[in-house]
């Protein structure tokens, strides 16, 4: 799904090589999201992952915030789920961090509405899904009534 904002999203910030360039990426890992404490664990893990990939402070903040929104969605709306981290690498060598947030909840009946700012079926602000899309470079979601929800987001290191 292409968005007007996405081209500008990819072009922010100074172009500089990732700090961790050349180092081996951490191993992929998965974290359960069943409790409030799990949400904090996910945040810590994602923060550490952004540092390992070599993101600057603003990108770290973007990715951890997006992870927090998506993990909370899975916890609140999906009745719990899983956040998996892995480290894609483009042929050019550019490194990224990919989050896969899965839940087996009721799914999202109206995805377009759920991506609209201010739309919420819960107690949040209704910025979680659309906000996470804006904070990341790539965003896909698979969902449907009764099918649970899988959100995959990627942010690439600026270089």
């Amino acid at each position: 799904m292409a968005l007007p904002g996405e081209s500008t999203l990819a072009s922010h910030g100074p172009k500089r090589p990732a700090r961790a360039e050349g180092r081996r990426p951490p191993a992929p890992a998965a974290y359960p999201v069943r409790t409030e404490e799990d949400l904090l664990t996910v945040r810590h893990a994602v923060r550490a992952a952004t540092v390992a990939v070599g993101f600057g402070l603003v990108d770290q903040t973007r990715v951890v915030t997006a992870a927090s929104e998506l993990a909370r969605n899975a916890y609140v709306h999906g009745g719990g789920g899983t956040v998996s981290l892995d480290y894609p690498r483009e042929p050019s060598g550019r490194r990224g961090l990919r989050l896969t947030v899965t839940d087996e909840g009721p799914g999202i009946a109206d995805l377009e509405a759920a991506l609209t700012d201010g739309f919420t079926t819960g107690a949040g602000l209704g910025h979680g899904l659309g906000g996470a899309r804006r904070l990341m470079d790539e965003f896909t979601v698979r969902t449907g009534p009764g099918e649970g929800t899988v959100v995959v987001v990627t942010r690439w290191a600026v270089r």
């Binding site: 404490e37 903040t61 929104e69 909370r72 949040g124 659309g130 906000g131």
Partner: protein, 136 residues
């Protein structure tokens, strides 16, 4: 688990202003406990202003943003003005991209400027007064 425990940041009183802060690891329970404790203190102590230092928050997601907005509204209904101070620049950038403007929440660059906005002024150093004080 004790749901009524304070979130760990004391709420200090300076005249009619309450000064406190938020810890980075704010969960649902801590947010509710914090809001309750703060509103009780506003009411009990007749506070006219509240300064909340958020410089320790490494992220503000929509949950924390909602907590800040609700807390500000509740305090305002009780007659107190809330100023949120010390937001980290990457947090501000991320909040805007997230589409959250913290409508209705007053902010200050740092606690000092927040306190000034709430009516506290840094007095000139009372050199003479201090000397008098020590000599007596």
């Amino acid at each position: 688990m004790n749901g009524l425990r304070s979130p760990g940041v004391p709420i200090l009183r300076l005249g009619d202003v309450l000064v406190t802060g938020l810890l980075n690891e704010l969960d649902d329970r801590a947010a509710i406990a914090f809001t309750e404790e703060l509103t009780e203190r506003i009411s009990a102590e007749g506070a006219r202003g509240v300064l909340i230092d958020i410089s320790r928050l490494e992220i503000i997601d929509s949950f924390v943003a909602r907590t800040l907005m609700e807390l500000t509204t509740v305090a305002r209904l009780l007659g107190a003005r809330v100023i949120v101070a010390g937001m980290r620049p990457p947090v501000a950038i991320t909040l805007v991209e997230l589409g959250i403007e913290l409508v209705g929440v007053e902010t200050a660059l740092n606690p000092e400027q927040g306190l000034a906005a709430l009516g506290w002024r840094q007095a000139p150093q009372p050199l003479e007064g201090a000397r008098r004080g020590t000599s007596r």
